[in-house]
Symmetry: C2
Subunit: 192 residues, 2 copies
Amino acid sequence: MEHIEKILEFIVEIEKLKDVQRKTKPVGLERFENSAEHSWHVCLTALMLKDYANEEIDINRVIKMLLIHDLGEIDAGDTIVYAGQTTEYKAEEEAGISRLLSILPGFMADEFIELWREFEAGETADACFAKAIDRVPPLLHNIHGDGHSWRTHGVTKEKVFSVNQRIEAGSKDLWSVMRGKLEGAVNAGILK
Amino acid sequence: MEHIEKILEFIVEIEKLKDVQRKTKPVGLERFENSAEHSWHVCLTALMLKDYANEEIDINRVIKMLLIHDLGEIDAGDTIVYAGQTTEYKAEEEAGISRLLSILPGFMADEFIELWREFEAGETADACFAKAIDRVPPLLHNIHGDGHSWRTHGVTKEKVFSVNQRIEAGSKDLWSVMRGKLEGAVNAGILK
């Protein structure tokens, strides 16, 4: 019962992810997205697109990765992908997720910190696909939202194409479709 | 590529779940929770508490159920668990999730509508556990939030205990801990 108490304490603590504001607005909404609802959204995106991964993946591991991938932001905050991420920020994020996982019963933390590190390293097939998926919704937000976040942060088309080409490492088919959509955004004048 | 286009259309359409307002406020926040961030929260709650299910469960199926369990609310809206749910509301929710899933390539919808129906029926071990988990965060919101939703909706302690005893069907251990917390809320005068 003591273990369940600790898990519930963790469950309450991670509520704070609902208060971490991201840099894009969900399609049709006037407010910014938070990292908790984003995490749900990428899990379903991965589940629906799993058959388009370049390599064989374990979708259940990918979903677990995506459920926890932003927990470090509770302490470190969200950063925009175009800013690049410093070693200091990464260390802060890892300290953040470690702090959260340390609330859990001792034997539980290891699996999740390993999964988080695998995601961050982005080298395995599962992590490559998870990282590809993580980039898709913010692009859709901009494409369907007049490029609001690109404009606010002065992100050029060159930067958008080069940074998001990483999607190709997880799914060539998905990148092909997304690249087409980005070219459409350039033609429509919302990506410059 | 046509399939990916359809899946992306679905991914954009389900963004609307981020705009479905629930009846409780996340711990520490002054705003109401939305059904998308709730869906993320229950997935992680299930993942962390999986070892306490009464029967053997497939946690990956449970997580899939929880990722999609509220999609019907995009068309039907959220209702409070204490209100009970009419046949009409259930039909509206099923029509809603069917409409969403019909956006996907034809071969994909069946798996998810079956999973949703299994969750709703609440009879299999996976569904029993998923339904138990779904009840936990709103209780924690009230317990850590001065019983705000119980008070607003005039929910009595008798109702809270009888409706949430359903948690026991998924996890006796979890219900034992939650019952203790609810008794604490009664003693503290926030559940009457």
